[in-house]
Symmetry: C2
Subunit: 895 residues, 2 copies
């Protein structure tokens, strides 16, 4: 008793580096690490946790601050904590009769690979092993435990390879003629321990420490040292984890799952991690220690079987799971051990789960009253939700991979290979499902893309024609499959050593960029009831509006179904690409005078009017942002090589002069319009300046369509967007011209249309001069795709596949800036532009319409800098709604 | 007398809008306008100026502020000023015996087109014309003067066309059978006046005002109104002239140069405006009014002739010129009139002059003690100096223009047309001077470019291969001559309707982008003694260092001669382009493994070592900034079309398998390396990351060369520059690798070399993350060419000629941002980067190495934001030295 009093008094005076589980403050994860905090929490809530203590992260930091020396007083505190642990456990460390054994584990505030693994059975030596054998009445168990310690100690503390130890174990088994460890008799284990001690001394150059306190000191120091292992340092740098966090050390009394058939070890999830169903899920291995489960020598049994084999334990487990969920208010992933019929929890943490399960669990727990609506929202990884919104392939494991390429447009499809657009249309018309496989696609292939279930190209990147069109119409596409060779003469494709004929079936996964040989099963996208409920919560919580990038009435309708609150980007170029219009567009491009150009445009005008009218109808009452023509004109012409070949063919065939002249003219114009860097060439508003007739026609069509809609009682909230503006005066000139056209058109139609004029901010200079630009812009829509290209000087087509992958692999960039907005560079420009723009025009509307508009991390940035909306592809709308709500909640939480 | 006293009293109380020349404060140009201030100054200094008064710019502003009404009290003040003028002139306004006549002119604080022209002879009417006839004894003169007034009044005040008046004059002359105005008899003039009065009433819808005060009011108002004429508004907007300046009005007593042979009018420059020689230069027309000189009916006589015809007047003129220069301390452009032997000055201003004259005058005036050294500096337009530093064509007026293209590389040359590089070399070897004319040039043409006197291409822009190479080696080039068609079969070129054979002589002006048929004379560049003196003053005054962009030892030497204080940009890619190296470079590019690549590079290593060693030698003791390889690798391969053609030819000729395979491989690689937007593709430091062997070799070569130099006692101040950095980690990875190579090489060489590592800031993101980048960069060199391209999203090759010209013509951009740094956008990035970089690293060295480094306006910006140096092409160095000094002086002046 005197001793215990001493301990208590000393603790009160000096405790600084060490906290017993029952004394520590579980909320202080920074001090205790994640594992230590959870253990303390469970102990204090009365869960059956073996007792133990945590050495704090501060001790680790002090260790390093002192150049690799234990902090003053640390070992004294550890000694006292051990005394306390002995008292609780009723055993003594190093005792010849009732020896206390412990495990030692690292536990940083954030989970981190590269840290020290567990050391089990610490406290065994030549003396205590005999006590364990006596106590357990199982010498084989005791000596097996001892040899495990020696081996782990050599490996973890002294970095010695496991191989010599494993070799000795194999030799012993072969000598006894047994295959399984458990069949080795106790004497063999005894002999093995002797061998192991020799091996230890040989490799470590010092004998295995028989002093249990030395064992403990060395183990603690090994944990501290592992904080600065090369792997840990690299990981921290890559993930921006501060070096100053440090790791805690958890020392815990051992319990044994390997003490016979009434013992065992297992893992449970408190709900099903794939479906989210509220059932216990997990595995159990009887008469085993944790590492045996990992080794996979015996197959564990499903947790449900325990109900029959160990009903009392199962009952305790069910109760435990329930209590853990109630206490931790989330689905738990629990490690436990049963020692001679008694259940112990060794660790618990929030369980990983699929997107589907995450939604189900969040909503179930909300209904069960465990969590609040905002918490339910945060329980879902918005990024993962995407997989619920597209069709997916199933059973692909059984299929051969034909090729890997860029995941250019998500979704999945199955169909027969066709090698050109005409064949695609022909086969599709007779009811076949086809996949168009091409070197790359051009505007002249558009009817083939429309007819096919999916597209595969051997060239071209994420912004190639095929990719952009496929994303626009929501079909899967895999682009840039370098390894695929198309043989047009033999009508076949070859890749990966496989030859497929036109007509053979392939399966396309646009989400991963994989093409499979043969027919995979399809899983349809489903919008579960739980997801709908979560979305409705999100809609109540979020501040950011969510709009869609939609170019067609079908897209617009789909976007509305997914919950879009308007169109943030309606690209008009895709309207120019439909096969019946391409000839008109080409005539317009070939025009050499303004009046010829106007003539061709006047034929396009009624078609554009009907395009816009149909979109206004679909979005009745919601805002629609229409972007005037953006791409360089040569995108509407066939490629030069193709024209040159066509010309050769025409000449060989002796075609008419007229036909030849026409093709010659096309080729001439294609050559004239060729650009060294089309991304930075004659496109966007530059077209509007150089060929004003084009924008004139578009503006007239927009206002005419709006007038028609208004007459039919359709609500029109119109926003006209000028692309690629780079200087304030450029916008002013175009705005004044567009207003003039609008005024004239309204007078002609006799209808007054309210509308806004704004601009995409996608050129760095637009962001830099945003204060002046805001004088003429009623809204800014950040075109983050191009803004990222210009700010990085990355041509996306060239970067992806040529060097961006190297930058990501080598962690020179932390993430792909085309997927997640680069807040350090591009984000800075956006933030400046928003601030400067609002200063000049307080009611300036701001949004993002690049692909980042559907990316959760980017959406959080948009929330933080106070944009008004994000706009993304229709399929991403639900993701964006959730992500916007989460961002709002998190912002509120951090103040 | 009572009246005069009244006037004096009233003036003291109320004068606000009007100042007599003898009362105004000449320093207040803002209030009086430039012309008014100079007139007041001359009057107060006692020069023979006809008396008059100025209505202030504030009166103009008040007129507009009151919605087009004269300010309260203005007319009263004008009335009083007229009274004062009558007293001084001894004549009275509207008087039937001694009528005072005046001129009315506008005069804004800055010279501005679109403002009202002069009205002369105001004060004439049916009554006073008779008095003038009597007084002058010359009725023809009097009625001619009257009809001039009527016509000017109709035209200037009421915007009536001159045509009906001219028609009447022609009719009168034809009726009298005379050709010259002066031969018309007085009666005809009288009749013409009657006709003019009728014409006036007819077109103006009111009679010509006989009330001279009404005449004056209308004329004043016309001046005020001309401030807001459409042309004036457009000009002000384009030039950023504030609307609030307003214009003054000058009313001045008339003197007459058309009162006989002892009268006349003329213009003198007080020194020669072309050469700067200190001689009087100008013209004189006897018996004429100012407008007759403009009309050009009679040829004026050289001013020197006056020494014989009117020696007294000439003597007065010489004295006047001297006094004006002494007073105004600059060369003057003086308008004067001689009325019956008496000399009057009507206007004086600083005279326009050529670059050569400007330098000469500045230095002469400095020696004469008229101005101080800093003033001498400011008297020169640095931009104009360029024309003194290159060879120029002379007598081109006599030559036909073959074509106009982009002025891609300055200078001039004359030579025979050659159509391919081999011919160029062959002809040059036999002593011919040749000009290479190609569609565009590639690395394989480099020997032709080196052999030729100049280059002309039909395609390609300011950054095309031909342009870059030509600028690098200081040869003239004209690129992108769209209209030139090369017929390789006929070995001839056609353009502008002219056909020239290979071998015909052309003259190339790379400064204007003009190609002439035939041989122009050449004027060698000369560095006059005066220019040298001015440069030495500049060197004393400037703060900015001036370095050169130089890639070869010859460039380096030339740069040093021009006064460069180091090399700011030594591009290493041009070293890869010499004909003996291209095969090695191509082998390096075709390598499929790192070791193959290293093998090819090891052959390049000794060549690079000698490149660098020669440059260190040339720059002995001065800093040399070497940029590691920058362009995309495909620039070192022949063009795809060329390779395809070559392959076809080889196959037709039945060439060997090996030859064919090699070409096939080149073509394959060229296709693989093809990029959609090479400007934003795999180049610069991205090469260093993806193919590290290239930079390894370059760094080894640099250090080896530096060690060699050091052993020879040559001073090496080395700076290694990484191009196209876009993220901090990219720089860190490369810096660490380069330092490792440097360390190894120094160990091998046994020599310690001090060096700096820095980066080009040419990607917007580098500027945005400059604080982090400065951690690894010891200097920032702003690559303003690329930074401008990225910030504007302007591909220079595509913009110039396709749309940038439209933007400049329509004044959407105020100037070409590739010539003068865009301070609003690009400049903002630079300024932020400098501030952020210096905060992190106070001793960060900063400079500009784009073409802007030689542009005076851009240099002024560099001075203002405190950069350390500018770097420009060798020929621009003198310009930069002067511009840097001017910027320093101006900055000191504005505080």
């Amino acid at each position: 008793m005197a001793q215990v009093q001493d301990v208590a008094r000393d603790e009160a005076l000096t405790t600084r580096w060490v906290y017993s589980f029952d004394q520590a403050d579980p909320k202080n994860r920074k001090l205790l690490g994640g594992k230590g905090a959870n253990l303390a929490q469970m102990v204090q809530w009365g869960f059956p946790v073996p007792p133990g203590f945590t050495i704090t992260t501060e001790a680790c930091n002090e260790y390093w601050a002192r150049g690799g020396k234990f902090p003053e007083g640390l070992l004294d505190e550890v000694g006292m904590a051990v005394l306390r642990l002995e008292r609780t456990a009723g055993k003594r460390f190093g005792d010849a009769f009732q020896p206390l054994l412990v495990s030692v584990r690292s536990g940083a505030p954030v989970s981190m690979p590269g840290m020290m693994d567990t050391i089990l059975n610490l406290g065994l030596n030549d003396l205590t092993v005999r006590a364990l054998a006596n106590q357990s009445q199982d010498p084989a168990f005791a000596y097996d435990s001892y040899r495990r310690l020696i081996q782990m100690f050599a490996n973890v503390v002294f970095n010695v390879s496991l191989e010599p130890f494993e070799h000795a174990l194999r030799a012993a088994k072969s000598k006894c003629g047994v295959e399984r460890d458990r069949d080795l008799p106790a004497d063999s284990w005894k002999d093995l321990v002797a061998t192991y001690l020799k091996l230890f001394a040989e490799h470590v150059k010092q004998p295995f420490p028989q002093d249990v306190n030395v064992q403990l000191e060395l183990a603690i120091e090994a944990v501290f040292r592992s904080w600065n292992s090369p792997r840990a340092i690299v990981y921290r740098k890559a993930h921006g984890i501060p070096e100053t966090l440090g790791t805690a050390v958890n020392v815990q009394a051992m319990v044994f799952g390997n003490m016979g058939d009434d013992s065992g070890t297992g893992v449970i999830f408190t709900r099903h991690p794939s479906t989210g169903e509220p059932v216990l899920f997990g595995e159990f291995l009887s008469n085993a220690q944790g590492e045996d489960v990992v080794a996979g020598i015996r197959t564990p049994q499903p947790i449900a079987d325990l109900a029959h084999t160990m009903p009392a334990v199962y009952e305790s487990l069910v109760a435990l799971a329930k209590q853990l969920e109630t206490r931790f208010r989330d689905m738990q992933d629990v490690e436990f051990t049963v020692e001679r019929g008694k259940l112990f929890v060794l660790q618990t943490r929030s369980g990983k789960r699929t997107a589907q399960a995450a939604v189900r669990i969040a909503i179930d727990m909300l209904h069960e009253g465990l969590i609040q609506p905002e918490e339910a929202l945060l329980r879902v990884d918005a990024q993962h939700l995407r997989q619920l919104l597209h069709r997916r392939l199933q059973g692909t494991d059984a299929l051969q991979v034909l090729a890997k390429g860029l995941p250019a447009s998500p979704g999945a499809s199955v169909g027969r290979i066709v090698l050109d657009a005409d064949t695609a249309v022909e086969w599709a018309q007779r009811g076949e499902k086809v996949v168009l496989v091409r070197p790359e696609t051009t505007p002249e292939d558009i009817h083939g893309v429309l007819a096919a279930e999916g597209v595969v190209t051997t060239h071209g990147g994420m912004t190639s024609h095929a990719a952009v069109v496929a994303r626009g119409i929501g079909k899967p596409a895999v682009c840039g499959c370098d390894g695929v060779h198309i043989d047009f003469e033999a009508r076949q494709v070859e890749s990966n050593g496989i030859v497929l004929k036109e007509g053979d079936v392939i399966s396309v996964d646009g989400g991963t960029g994989t093409v499979y040989v043969g027919e995979a099963q399809m899983e349809e996208a489903k919008m579960a009831e739980e997801l709908k409920e979560l979305l409705s919560i999100a809609d109540d919580v979020r501040r950011l509006k969510v709009r869609a990038n939609a170019d067609t009435p079908e897209d617009a309708r789909r976007a509305r179904e997914f919950g879009a609150e308007g169109i943030g980007l309606c690209r008009t170029e895709h309207m120019f690409l439909s096969p019946d219009r391409v000839p008109l567009v080409q005539r317009m491009i070939l025009a050499t005078t303004s009046s010829e150009r106007q003539d061709a445009l006047s034929k396009l005008l009624p078609l554009q009017v009907s395009d816009f009218a149909a979109i206004f109808e679909a979005m009745d009452g919601l805002p629609v942002t229409i972007r005037l023509l953006d791409p360089p004109l040569h995108e509407f012409l066939p490629r030069e090589e193709e024209l040159a070949e066509r010309l050769d063919a025409l000449r060989e065939q002796g075609a008419s002069q007229g036909e030849i002249a026409e093709t010659e003219q096309l080729l001439r114009q294609a050559r004239y319009l060729r650009e060294a860097n089309p991304m930075m060439g004659l496109r966007g508003s530059r077209l509007g300046i150089v060929y004003p007739e084009i924008y004139d026609m578009q503006m007239e069509a927009i206002i005419t369509a709006a007038a028609q809609a208004k007459r039919q009682g359709i609500g029109v909230e119109l926003e006209v967007m000028l692309p690629l503006i780079g200087s304030p005066k450029e916008l002013r000139v175009l705005r004044e011209r567009m207003e003039e056209i609008a005024k004239r058109t309204m007078e002609r139609e006799g209808v007054e249309i309210g509308y806004r004029i704004g601009t995409m901010i996608e050129v760095p200079r637009a962001a830099l001069t945003a204060d002046q630009i805001a004088e003429d812009a009623q809204f800014f829509s950040f075109g983050t795709n191009d803004l990222t290209q210009m700010t990085f000087a990355f041509s996306r087509d060239d970067a992806e596949g040529k060097f961006l992958n190297v930058y990501l692999d080598r962690e020179i960039l932390p993430y792909n800036p085309f997927e997640t907005l680069d807040t350090e560079g591009v984000g800075k420009l956006i933030q400046w532009a928003v601030e400067a723009g609002r200063k000049r025009r307080p009611d300036l509307k701001t949004g993002v319409c690049g692909e980042h508009g559907g990316d959760p991390a980017s959406i959080a940035f948009c929330e933080d800098i106070g944009l008004d909306y994000v706009s993304c592809s229709p399929f991403r709308i639900p993701v964006a709604r959730i992500a916007a709500a989460q961002a709002a909640v998190r912002r509120r939480m951090t103040g």
